[in-house]
């Protein structure tokens, strides 16, 4: 049995605000197998982004343990960073920078030589349909093109685990469909493990092998989309929406209406 791609036990994060402590993540346990696409699903404010920021070494946990891509998150954060890709919700593109320059710089930051970084940039551009756009500033890209470039930046170091935080937010339906296809292709081509946060049920349903539902900083349900549907609604023909409502008692859009 190969070791899992991500193994998390009791991960916690508390923020201290003037108004008092906020328990954003309260002891999450989860395991993601190698080559799996995990949908990390929850309403806004459930602690999804905080969890991803901890797993990508950007935010020190308040407690708990995690291994990511075979490295201990706390003992060897640099080892984790070498083996993962991270695409933040905000994307991380510099609007003044050119597409090629962004790709090459990212490669150089991952310790590729100038030549390797150039070759890797061309290779990724070919894979992600960016070749025609290489000399444009990133500000001139469409939403779908931007997202492809952001994902290309996350793939520069051929990561074992790719973290995508709300990747389809703000995309039109056509670009969303392209993005889903791309994510499937990345996993199929390289066996990359994908940790995907989303608050879109259809996205989790379409892409994820397994779903972990979080709410208020804790895991509230876990299983394949089919398991979640039948377990929480008793009806295998139910939608994931029904299951989600049964689990969290609310829609993904926010609090339940009390009218």
């Amino acid at each position: 049995m190969p070791e899992p791609a991500i193994h998390v036990r009791g991960l916690m994060r508390t923020f201290t605000l003037a108004q008092g402590p906020v328990h954003a993540v309260r002891g999450i346990d989860l395991t993601v197998e190698r080559g799996e696409i995990l949908g990390f699903l929850g309403p806004n404010g459930a602690g999804k982004t905080t969890t991803v920021r901890m797993l990508t070494t950007l935010l020190p946990p308040s407690g708990g343990h995690a291994e990511v891509a075979g490295r201990d998150l706390l003992a060897d954060p640099a080892g984790v960073r070498r083996r993962i890709g991270y695409v933040a919700q905000s994307g991380g593109l510099d609007p003044g920078c050119g597409v090629r320059e962004e790709l090459i710089t990212q490669g150089r930051l991952h310790r590729l030589t100038r030549r390797q970084a150039g070759e890797r940039a061309e290779e990724l551009a070919g894979d992600l349909a960016l070749t025609e756009l290489m000399d444009r500033p990133t500000a001139a890209l469409s939403g779908g093109q931007r997202r492809r470039l952001e994902i290309a930046l996350g793939l520069v170091n051929r990561p074992e685990v790719l973290f995508l935080d709300e990747p389809s937010t703000g995309l039109d339906p056509g670009s969303r469909a392209e993005l889903w296809e791309l994510i499937r292709r990345i996993r199929a081509g390289h066996g990359t493990t994908v940790f995907l946060t989303t608050h879109y049920l259809d996205e989790a349903d379409a892409l994820a092998d397994r779903i972990v539902v979080v709410d208020a900083g804790a895991v509230v349900a876990e299983g394949t989309p089919a398991e979640l549907k039948s377990r929480h609604t008793g009806d295998p023909a139910a939608s994931l929406q029904d299951a989600f409502l049964a689990i969290t008692g609310r829609t993904t859009a926010g609090e339940p209406l009390s009218i």
Binding site: G91, G92, L109
Partner: protein, 250 residues
Amino acid sequence: MTLLTDTGIIFGRYLRATLRSTTSLLFGMLQPLLFLALFGPLLTRFDLGVGGSSWQALVPGVLVQLALLGGSFVGLGLLVERNLGVIDRMRVTPVSPLALLLGRTLRDVVQLLAQSILLVGLGVAFGLRAPLAGIVLGLAFVAVLAAALSALSYGLAMNVATPPEFAAIANTVGMPLMLLSGLLLPMSLAPGWLEAASRVVPLRYTVEAVRQVFQGHYANATVLTGAAVTAGLAAVCVVGGARLFGRTRA
């Protein structure tokens, strides 16, 4: 070695960004020149207690002012990038926070030196007389000071949430520092209490040392004190800035 390479990569990226933005480059260069050209002539009839013409006192002051005002606001650009997610993207690579800081700081120093050379050139045209070695040494002081203030500004930018907050803090800290360090008029003109207050401002020692080297005095106590204070400030700011760079609150 990787620190040097990484710093070089970051430096190259930001230098190219600076050169690309020709508008801000042009106006950034013009602003201190206008300041010197429009304010300097007001002082030519005063004896500022520094040897030589008033330009001898003013040009070093404007150089340090440039380092202070330019340096303290570089964090604003970082804050914008942070909100775009650029910084986080770079932090999820093997590059150290120190290289992310130093690469940017180095870009700021190079930009400031270019501005400073133009400024000194204009000063000479107006009547500044200084030996070349003194000018080179003076620019070295300004470069180290600029590195210190840039690093500090970046550290601050990593720990405040919005540009207005950042600007409020930078303005409030920068203004008294500028007035207390005797940049525009030497503190020898100040009443006792003001003079005493200015003794705790490190920039005062930098500007006094630059005034000395511009007069060709290299090995006196003022220059050595200025060198020690400026280098010490830079060390503290770079170490502190790198720590703030490595840490995030949210």
